[in-house]
Amino acid sequence: MKNQDPQHSTDFFSRRDRAYEFVRERWDMMALAVLAVAPLCVPALGGALGGQVTTLFIYCILALGLNVVVGYTGLVHLGIAAFFGIGAYIMAILTVPMYPFQIGFLAATIVSVLITAGVGLALGAPTLRLRGDYLAIVTLGFGEVVKVTLRNLEQITGGMKGLNPVPPPGAGVKVAGIDLGLAFAIDPRWFYYLALVSLAGVVLAMRRLEDSRLGRAWVAVREDELAASAMGISATRVKLSAFAMSSAVAGLAGCLYAASLSTTADPNAYDFNRSIMVLCAVILGGLGSIPGTLLGVTILVGFDTVLAPWADSLIQQMNINPSGLILLSFSGWRLAIFGLALVLVMRFRPEGLVPSRRLAAELHEAHP
């Protein structure tokens, strides 16, 4: 608490506090500046690493979407990957050459976001009156239903093959004689910037919502549904709006995902594991906290998609593990390390790595 309040700090701490305060206030612009410049300085971002970091950004968007329901509104949501998948598949259906629509990336994104929000509403309207565990079961079940549906509607979704190729954004659009789609296809840095801009936009939107009527209503419903209701807030409607918002953001992430991979991948990419991984990232980082969510995703997903493959290739290069033992491969330990990290965080920092102001206050009060 002391660090957050420079007026009451002693001189001894003031310098450190000021630096802390600066980072606390300006972390977003600093991170954005570093990430915006990075591709120009780090050549590896023009290769496979660029694609991996793009995926990381997309997961950040997905996690921010989940954070609306789980963090702000306090509902358990175990099926966010379903909305991610729906977004990706609608993107693909509207753009792949095998279907007649081919309406282009931007229009497809808008339609896809609207449809995922609508699906979120359709799922939420009858079920959000359920409390706690029951809602968790509904969302879990919905996730499975969507996965199986995507797998079984073979004519529409291509079954296990998925839909491809999803054309890159701006395919066919020529800017100064360069086909934008071709540029996207050749250089991963285009996608890197697209994902970064989308992420920045989502962060900005979340900030604004946090600090507006709707955001306050979300938190109020989380804190005390009955009291919020007695203040004239329709808890169902507020939860529904959170659900729709989260679905829409997850749909946006799905669109970017499909476009950046140029395929929807198979339906198993949108299964329960993915939902849980994103949920873990949100909890690890701090429920209801934007920087926390971003950090949580960076740690968990970054570990999974960037660090683990890199460590594996390193082990292979150094010829430590010529027989291919799973025990010696780094990614074989992935889930164990996940679990350990979560246990440690829950033991020593239950509010998450970067807790939201509100939860931090609560937990500091509990342990004076």
């Binding site: 095998m98 509607l153 109020a220 209701s229 203040m231 808890a235 206050a361």
Partner: protein, 450 residues
């Protein structure tokens, strides 16, 4: 309707319309039972606009239960609560019926899609449009859609050859090299299928399909089409339509019934009561304890802040203005209860008395005309209780009617216009404070029988 304070519009979300004569609140033979226990029994209570009315009684007399009933948390087992002459329930309007029917229609379409196999429908309408070489047009798609529901034979392409297939693509009747042949063959086969009669009592059609094929120039190949396949194709139209309509109807009924059930269960809800203009505080303080003091009041103001999600997302000038107005209004409310300096503190960290006052500020912020205070002075020392009493009197001067549950008799006797005494769920006395103080039954209820 009185002008709203602080320049913010009064909530116009109230589903209860119309204004009627006083009494402002009319509780009529209100009974609440929990299983066999009667918590409140045939309570009659009128609250005149602009008054302060107190409900007192020993612990467990049913005071809070009556409050919960008025504020929509419980449903009365019998009797009614009317506010400004209206029941505190969401009325059944035409809009709700239409919405239920609309939801039912969507459910019906979903069921119908599943019943007619949307996967094969997609194959027939979209995918076949992409393989037959001609550009995809909406007219063709509509034709194919109609064809699917008439179970007509269609043409598609597989491995460079043209095939005559059933509408759902399950049966392949012929394979040819040229599209024109396929078209001719399709028409001939379709005529054969249409001519075929199926069902009980019909004589089996033994006409040879090979004749049909031979009549078509250029046709080369025809896999043996079994009798039962032809029967199935001939019955296809009836079947697909039966499925579609059944799915639509069942889904529609289920969806409409479900929407109406949800409406029925959400009829009485605290937020409907609050939107009608009744606000309350709680006996066990229910603040949003991790939000700041100011935010707590802003949540109370929620219904009076105009603007939609897009305004919030894009921070339009209108949105910024309304937020600013709301913050001013919230600060005014805090100043009213004497918490102006604590606006940015976390609500849970306030002292007990301050939390109670914050709850009052939050309740007043809703713009309510009627406020229910549930033991606002509980846990306060005599000085704080005196301050609270004057606060309650100030609330009245704002034109807000107060209904109070309180155990501090000093507060009750000082502020109340009327006092109702409850014991074991029954109202045993009602009148001015002086009358109630003298009432023998009240004295007995409090001190026990002589």
């Amino acid at each position: 309707m009185k002008s709203a304070p602080f320049g913010l519009g009064r909530s116009n979300r109230s589903p209860l319309r119309g204004v009627a004569d006083s009494p402002l609140l009319d509780v009529n033979r209100l009974t609440v039972r929990f299983g066999g226990l009667v918590a409140v029994s045939e309570l009659d209570l009128d609250v005149i606009e602009g008054s302060i009315t107190s409900i007192i009684g020993p612990n467990g007399a049913g005071k809070t239960t009556a409050f919960n009933c008025i504020s929509g948390i419980y449903s009365p087992s019998a009797g009614s609560v009317r506010f400004e002459g209206h029941r505190l329930e969401r009325p059944l309007t035409a809009g709700i019926c239409w919405r239920a029917i609309g939801i039912g229609l969507l459910t019906g379409l979903l069921c119908a899609a599943a019943a007619v196999d949307v996967d094969r429908l997609w194959l027939a309408v979209v995918k076949r449009g992409m393989v037959t070489g001609t550009p995809f047009t909406l007219v063709d798609a509509t034709t194919r859609l109609r064809g699917y529901f008439r179970a007509e034979l269609a043409i598609d392409q597989m491995a460079g050859k043209w095939r005559v297939v059933s509408a759902d693509g399950a049966d392949v009747l012929a394979i040819t090299r040229e599209l024109s042949e396929a078209k001719a063959l399709r028409n001939a086969l379709q005529a054969a299928v249409t001519a075929r009669r199926v069902g009980p009592g019909t004589v089996p059609d033994t006409s040879d399909l090979a004749d049909v094929v031979e009549a078509v120039p250029g046709a080369r190949q025809l896999p043996t089409v079994k009798e039962h396949v032809l029967d199935r194709l001939a019955a296809g139209k009836k079947r697909i339509r039966w499925r579609g309509w059944t799915g639509l109807f069942v889904g529609w009924m289920l969806g409409t019934a479900g929407a109406m059930a949800v409406w029925q269960r959400g009829r009485r809800s605290p937020h409907i009561v609050a939107q009608a203009g009744i606000s309350r505080t709680f006996q066990n303080i229910r603040l949003f304890s991790n939000m700041t003091v100011l935010e707590n009041v802003l949540v109370g103001l929620d219904g009076r802040i105009p603007g939609g999600v897009l305004g919030m997302l894009f921070r339009t000038p209108a949105n910024r203005r309304s937020e600013e107005t709301a913050r001013c209004a919230a600060r005014d409310e805090l100043a009213f209860v004497g918490l102006a300096d604590d606006a940015n503190r976390i609500a849970g960290q306030l002292s007990y008395g301050d939390q109670r006052r914050l709850e009052i500020a939050r309740a007043l912020a809703t713009g309510a005309r009627f406020i229910l205070l549930d033991e606002p002075a509980a846990g306060m020392n005599p000085t704080e209780a005196t301050h609270l009493a004057s606060l309650v009197e100030q609330i009245r001067t704002r034109g807000v009617t107060v209904l109070l549950i309180e155990h501090h008799m000093n507060v009750v006797m000082r502020v109340s216009d009327r006092v109702a005494v409850l014991d074991h769920g029954v109202k045993i006395a009602e009148g001015t404070p002086a009358e109630v103080k003298r009432d023998a039954r009240v004295i007995e209820a409090y001190l026990g029988g002589a």
